[in-house]
Symmetry: C2
Subunit: 161 residues, 2 copies
């Protein structure tokens, strides 16, 4: 066994925070989460906030296809995810940061609102949290819930109505 | 260290084979895969055959929403899955059994064709493979790709057309 010098400091495991609705899970979501986790280095812990149904209705003006508890459980069943938790009913980035204490907040290519809120909260509180943007994965085809919905409409119109 | 008696036989890790299309991934899929893996006991290896687009078209007479390579990668990104591979263009249960050498074949509640083919192949070859059926998970609501498609049609009709 190697002799301990007493100077070994146990490196803190970095916590990366990601978020989303994940209504129809697709490979673009997984790639976003994988890149987010990688940003925290080896042994990073990835915590994912899954948006409440009510938050999606209020912010995006649409109903979700899958209920929030199923979306959360599905996200947590991914290899890359250490913990998936439902967001607050009244989503507030400051509260989320206080609860999760992330080292890094990773925002997806289509999360401009979340990015602005994260940067504002970090700045206002003077926190040492990095806010990073994750690019879109590959071709946009089917890496978007909207595109998946459109394809379903196109394929099944007149069949399941 | 414990003294080796020479009688310790390393227990073979059981291989469980599951299969499906997994076109719109939902929690029912994950529950099916988890139950399948549990049937193989501790340390079981779960191998999942993901149906080719052409196989789905030939057998079910419909096009998939997500292309086969994306469906395969998404299934492999689940914690419960050790390996996900695309099926043969001409799906044949005998060939699959020969390639994967499973101890257990787990079929889902809606896979009556697959179950019959698996039982036939096992019987014909006189193999020591258990074929087990996995029940439907919880309420059928949204644990069915068809129901998800119907809900999307209902929610987005006239919006994304």
């Amino acid at each position: 066994m190697a002799r301990s010098t007493g100077k070994d400091v146990k490196r803190k495991r970095k916590v990366v925070l990601a978020s989303g609705t994940f209504d129809l899970l697709h490979l673009g979501h997984v790639k976003y989460l994988e890149e987010a986790k990688q940003a925290g280095g080896k042994n990073a812990k990835l915590v994912v906030i899954v948006a409440r149904d009510s938050t999606v209705e209020n912010r995006k003006g649409r109903r979700t296809v899958m209920p929030e508890d199923q979306r959360r459980a599905l996200v947590e069943s991914l290899k890359v995810v250490d913990e998936a938790i439902l967001g607050y009913e009244n989503f507030d980035m400051g509260n989320v940061i206080e609860a999760i204490k992330p080292d890094i907040i990773a925002v997806g290519h289509d999360q401009t609102d979340i990015e602005a809120e994260a940067r504002k909260a970090v700045e206002e509180k003077g926190l040492a949290i990095k806010v990073i943007g994750i690019g879109r994965f590959g071709k946009p085809e089917l890496n978007s819930s909207l595109k998946i919905k459109r394809k379903i409409m196109e394929l099944y119109k007149g069949r399941y109505e």
